[in-house]
C-alpha cells in the first residue's frame, strides 16, 4: 500500500460509562437485595430437593401442563436441584455485573519467542548433553538401545493376545444342519407349514439339541432366521433357489449382510424386507436381492423342507457365511 493513502485511525478505548449502581446508592442497595434473593431462592431449591427425596412417594403422579402426567418425586428432585444450582449462578453473575468493578483493564501481551541468546544456549546445552552421553561416539549403544526399545513395544501386543480367541471358521458357520427343526422365537415351538398363513412372517431359531436349554446371544446373532410365506407363483427364483422353499415358505438369515442388524421390517404389500439401521432393502420374491441401500449382498437363504412328522426343517446348513462381510469371506 502506498504511503499517501491514510487509513482510518484507532480512536482508542471508549470512555467508561458508569452503571446505575456505581453512582446511585439506592440502585446499589437494590442490586444487593436482588443478589440475596437469588441466593435465598437457591436455598429454597435445595429444601425442595430434600423434601421430595424424603416425603414425596415415588408413585405420586401429578399433572403438569406441557409435560402431562409427571412423576412428582422425580420432578421435585430435579427441579429442586436445578433451582438450587441455577440461582447460585445467577446470583454470582448478577453480583459481578452490577456491583463488582466493570472498568476494562488493559494488559500487555508478552512475546513467546525466547531471546536469540537463550535459543542458542539451549541448542548448545542439548548438544553438549548428547555429546557427554556419547551417543554419537558409541553407535553400538545407540543401536542396541534402539533395538531393545523397539522390541519392548512388542510385549504389550503379545500380552494382549489373550483378549480373545482366533476367529477360525467361527464367522462362517451357524448352528443350522441338515434336518435341524425351525422353532419359534420366543416359544421354541416347532413349526408346520400350515402354521403360517400366506403373507405371514415368523422369527425362528434352530431347535436346541436334546439336553440343552440355553442359547448364547452369539448363536442367536448368527442363527436367527426369518420365515415368510408367499403364494408359490409370486416367487421369481431360479430352479435351485425355488427348491429351497417349501409350499411358498422361504427362509432368510435375519442378520443383515451389511452390518449385522436384525432385518426386521417386512412390508407385506411390496414383499420387501427393510433393515432399520441403514435402510438396505431386500426383495423377498427374488431371493432377497438388494434393491436399495448400502448392503452389497442378498441375505443368505436357508434351504428348508419338512421332515417325516411334517415339521419345517433345514435341508442343509447355510451355503455361505451369514452377517456382515469380513476379509476372509470368499464371495
Amino acid at each position: 500500500m502506498s504511503n499517501e493513502i491514510e487509513l482510518i485511525k484507532d480512536p482508542g478505548l471508549p470512555a467508561h460509562v458508569h452503571r446505575q449502581a456505581d453512582i446511585d446508592p439506592v440502585a446499589a442497595a437494590r442490586a444487593e437485595r436482588q443478589v440475596a434473593i437469588l441466593f435465598i431462592l437457591s436455598a429454597l431449591g435445595t429444601l425442595l430437593l430434600i423434601f421430595s427425596y424424603f416425603f414425596i412417594s415415588e408413585e405420586t403422579f401429578i399433572f403438569i401442563p406441557v409435560l402431562g402426567q409427571t412423576n412428582a418425586h422425580q420432578l421435585g428432585l430435579g427441579m429442586g436441584m436445578a433451582i438450587a444450582l441455577f440461582c447460585i449462578g445467577a446470583g454470582l453473575i448478577h453480583w459481578a455485573k452490577t456491583l463488582m468493578p466493570d472498568e476494562e483493564v488493559v494488559a500487555q501481551r508478552h512475546e513467546f519467542r525466547s531471546e536469540d541468546e537463550d535459543r542458542s544456549d539451549f541448542v548448545k546445552t542439548v548438544k553438549e548433553g548428547a555429546a557427554s552421553a556419547g551417543l554419537g561416539r558409541r553407535p553400538l549403544i545407540k543401536r542396541t538401545l534402539g533395538a531393545a526399545l523397539g522390541l519392548s513395544a512388542l510385549s504389550p501386543l503379545i500380552l494382549l493376545r489373550d483378549l480373545g480367541p482366533l476367529p477360525g471358521d467361527e464367522l462362517s458357520k451357524t448352528s443350522w444342519k441338515a434336518g435341524t427343526r425351525l422353532v419359534t422365537d420366543p416359544g421354541d415351538r416347532p413349526l408346520r407349514p400350515e402354521d403360517l398363513e400366506v403373507g405371514a412372517v415368523a422369527q425362528t431359531l434352530p431347535e436346541l439339541p436334546a439336553g440343552e436349554d440355553h442359547r448364547s446371544l452369539a448363536d442367536i446373532g448368527k442363527d436367527a432366521v426369518l420365515l415368510i410365506r408367499l403364494r408359490p407363483e409370486e416367487f421369481n427364483l431360479d430352479a435351485e433357489r425355488l427348491s429351497w422353499t417349501h409350499e411358498g415358505i422361504i427362509a432368510f438369515s435375519k442378520i443383515c449382510s451389511h452390518m449385522g442388524c436384525a432385518v426386521a421390517l417386512y412390508e407385506q404389500q411390496t414383499k420387501h424386507l427393510l433393515c432399520p439401521c441403514h435402510q438396505s432393502t431386500f426383495d423377498v420374491t427374488r431371493a432377497a436381492k438388494v434393491i436399495f441401500g448400502p448392503a452389497a449382498r442378498p441375505l443368505p437363504q436357508l434351504a428348508i423342507t419338512v421332515d417325516a412328522e411334517g415339521y419345517l426343517v433345514a435341508q442343509a446348513p447355510f451355503n455361505e457365511p451369514v452377517g456382515p462381510s469380513f476379509w476372509e469371506r470368499s464371495s
Binding site: T70, G91, R161, I220, V290
Partner: protein, 529 residues
C-alpha cells in the same frame, strides 16, 4: 488487623514459605480476560465435563458392568421375569429403585450431549474467527483430539446399558472393525473376546469409559487451559484493542464470579433438562438380543453424521482371490472420517502455508474478512449436515411423509453437490458484507430521513458512523497474494514450480477482497458532497 485477616495472612504465609506461590498468585489473580459471549462456549464444555465426572461417579456406585445373564425382578412391571444382562438390569435399578438415580442418569446423558454441542460450536467459533492461527496451533490440535475422543467416549457411554438400541450400535461398531482388511475378524474377536456379542465387551468398554478416556480428557483439558492461560486469550478487534494488548476484566474478582457463576448456571440448566426432559428411556427398548431391533434406530447426534454416511454409501464390495473388501463400510466408516479429521487437525498449517502468513495473531478475524476460510468452513459444515440429516432419514421420512428413497437420493446427490455451492455462496456473501462495510464507512448510515432539495430532488440523509465503528470496520489487514517465482530469471521453470504455482493460486483466492475504506477516500468523498 482483624482476627480473620490475621488467620488468612498466616495461612498464606505458611503456603508461600513452602512454595513461593505469592509471586505467581499476585500476577495471575489480576490476569485480564477479554469478554465476549462466544468465549463462554469453551467454558460450557469444561463445566459439562465436570458435571459428567460428578454424575458419572454417582452412577458407578450402582451400575454393574457385566453381561452375565440375570432374571429381572425389579419394580418395572413390563420387564419382570425377562432374561437380561446384569448391566441392563442394574441400569433399570438405577432408574427405578435408586432415588435420584434416574435424574442422575438423565443429567449425565444431557451433560454429554451439551459437552459435544459445546465442543462443536466452540470449534466453529475458533475456526471462523481464525483463533487457531499462530501461536495457538497446538491448542487447535488438542481441541480436535478432544472432539474425537468425545465422540468415542459418548458412544461407549450410551452403549453401557446394553439395551436393544445401544446393542445395535455396538453391533454396527463390530461390523466396522470386522470390515478392516486382513486383520478385521481378528481384531473383532480380540475386542469382543470371541464371537459377537460375547460377555467381555461391556466390562471392557466400562474401564475405557470411566477410567482410561476420562484420564486422557483430564490431561488434555489441563494442557488446553494452561495454554490459553499462558498465551492469553484472543480478543475481537475494536477500538483500543491491538495485537500487543489484551482488554478485559481481571480474574479476581470479576472473572471468578462470572465463570464460577456460569458453572452453576450450566449445572442448573442440565439439572433442569434432567428433571423435565426424558432422555434415553432404556426401559422402553428392552434388553439387547441380536435377533431383534426397533424401528427408527438412531445414534446420538454426534455419531449421526457417521451413520448418515454409512446409510448413503453405494453398495460396493470387492471379492477377489477369495477375499472381501467392503467399500460400503470402509469408505463411510473409516476413510471419509479419517480424511475429515486429518484435514481438520492440519487446517492451521494448510492455511499458513497457503497465505505465507507466519506471524502471531491475537486479534480475531471477523468471518467476512476471511472469505475463503469462511467458505471452506461452510462447505465442510454443509457436508456434515447433509450426512447428519441422512443419519435421521427414516425419522425425517416418516415425519414429513417422504419415502426413504427420496431422502437417501437427496443425501447421495446433496452430499456431493451442496458443499461446493455452499462454498461459492458463502464467499460471495462475505464479499457482499465487505462491500456493505465499505459503503457504511464511506457514506455513513442510512437514516431513513428524506429531504427535498431546493432543486426539487429528494435525497436520503446519511449520518456518519462513529469513529469506533469506522475503526472496527476497517482495522483488519488485507494481505496481498503471494507472488512466488515459477520461473527463474532466464525464464526456465524452477524446481518446485508446481508447488509455487499451487500456492500462488490458493493465495490469490485467499486474497480476494473488497478494498477496505480509507480515511483518504473518506476525505475525497466529503469534498464531493
Amino acid at each position: 488487623m482483624t482476627a480473620r485477616e490475621r488467620i488468612a495472612g498466616n495461612v498464606a504465609g505458611y503456603v508461600d514459605d513452602r512454595t513461593g506461590a505469592a509471586k505467581w498468585m499476585k500476577k495471575n489473580l489480576t490476569k485480564v480476560f477479554p469478554d465476549h459471549w462466544s468465549f463462554l462456549l469453551g467454558e460450557i464444555c469444561l463445566y459439562s465435563f465436570v458435571i459428567l465426572l460428578l454424575s458419572g461417579t454417582f452412577l458407578t456406585f450402582w451400575f454393574d458392568p457385566s453381561m452375565k445373564e440375570v432374571v429381572y425382578d425389579g419394580s418395572y412391571e413390563p420387564l419382570k421375569g425377562l432374561e437380561m444382562s446384569a448391566a441392563y438390569a442394574s441400569t433399570l435399578d438405577i432408574s427405578f429403585e435408586v432415588r435420584g438415580g434416574l435424574l442422575m442418569r438423565q443429567i449425565h446423558h444431557w451433560a454429554a450431549l451439551i459437552f459435544m454441542v459445546g465442543i462443536v460450536v466452540h470449534l466453529l467459533r475458533v475456526y471462523f474467527t481464525g483463533a487457531f492461527r499462530k501461536p495457538r496451533e497446538f491448542n487447535w490440535i488438542i481441541g480436535v483430539g478432544l472432539l474425537t475422543l468425545g465422540i468415542v467416549e459418548g458412544f461407549l457411554g450410551y452403549s453401557l446399558p446394553d439395551d436393544l438400541l445401544s446393542g445395535t450400535g455396538i453391533r454396527i461398531a463390530e461390523a466396522i472393525i470386522q470390515a478392516l482388511p486382513v486383520v478385521g475378524s481378528y481384531l473383532a474377536f480380540f475386542a469382543f473376546g470371541g464371537a459377537f456379542p460375547g460377555e467381555a465387551f461391556i466390562p471392557r468398554i466400562y474401564t475405557v469409559h470411566v477410567l482410561l478416556l476420562p484420564g486422557i480428557f483430564l490431561a488434555l483439558i489441563t494442557v488446553h487451559l494452561m495454554l490459553v492461560w499462558y498465551q492469553k486469550h484472543t480478543q475481537f478487534p475494536g477500538p483500543g484493542r491491538t495485537e500487543k494488548n489484551v482488554v478485559g476484566y481481571p480474574l479476581m474478582p470479576v472473572y471468578m464470579a462470572k465463570a464460577g457463576g456460569f458453572f452453576f448456571i450450566v449445572f442448573g440448566v442440565t439439572a433442569f433438562l434432567g428433571a423435565v426432559a426424558s432422555i434415553n428411556p432404556i426401559w422402553l427398548y428392552g434388553p439387547y438380543t441380536p435377533g431383534q431391533i426397533s424401528a427408527g434406530s438412531q445414534p446420538d447426534w454426534y455419531m449421526g453424521w457417521l451413520d448418515g454416511l454409512v446409510r448413503m454409501a453405494p453398495p460396493l464390495e470387492t471379492h477377489a482371490f477369495g477375499y472381501t473388501i467392503s467399500w460400503n463400510i470402509l469408505i463411510p466408516g473409516l476413510i471419509l472420517p479419517g480424511i475429515m479429521f486429518t484435514g481438520l487437525a492440519l487446517y492451521p498449517f494448510i492455511e499458513s502455508w497457503a497465505t505465507g502468513d507466519k506471524r502471531e495473531h491475537h486479534l480475531l478475524d471477523r468471518p467476512r474478512n476471511a472469505p475463503n476460510r469462511t467458505a471452506i468452513g461452510a462447505m465442510a459444515l454443509t457436508f456434515t449436515l447433509v450426512s447428519l440429516l441422512n443419519g435421521g432419514n427414516d425419522i425425517i421420512a416418516t415425519t414429513f411423509d417422504l419415502t426413504i428413497n427420496q431422502m437417501m437420493w437427496f443425501s447421495r446427490i446433496g452430499v456431493i453437490v451442496l458443499p461446493p455451492i455452499a462454498f461459492v455462496v458463502t464467499k460471495r456473501l462475505c464479499l457482499s458484507l465487505q462491500r456493505a462495510d465499505r459503503d457504511l464507512v464511506l457514506h455513513g448510515r442510512e437514516t431513513g430521513r428524506l429531504v427535498r432539495m431546493p432543486s426539487g430532488e429528494f435525497v436520503e440523509v446519511h449520518e456518519p458512523i462513529s469513529p469506533e465503528k469506522a475503526w472496527l470496520l476497517t482495522s483488519h489487514e488485507q494481505l496481498a497474494p503471494l507472488e512466488l517465482p515459477e520461473h527463474d530469471s532466464a525464464g526456465v521453470r524452477r524446481p518446485g514450480a508446481i508447488k509455487n504455482k499451487i500456492r500462488n493460486r490458493i493465495s490469490r483466492a485467499n486474497a480476494v477482497a473488497v478494498p477496505k475504506a480509507t480515511a483518504t477516500e473518506r476525505r475525497e468523498l466529503e469534498g464531493h458532497h
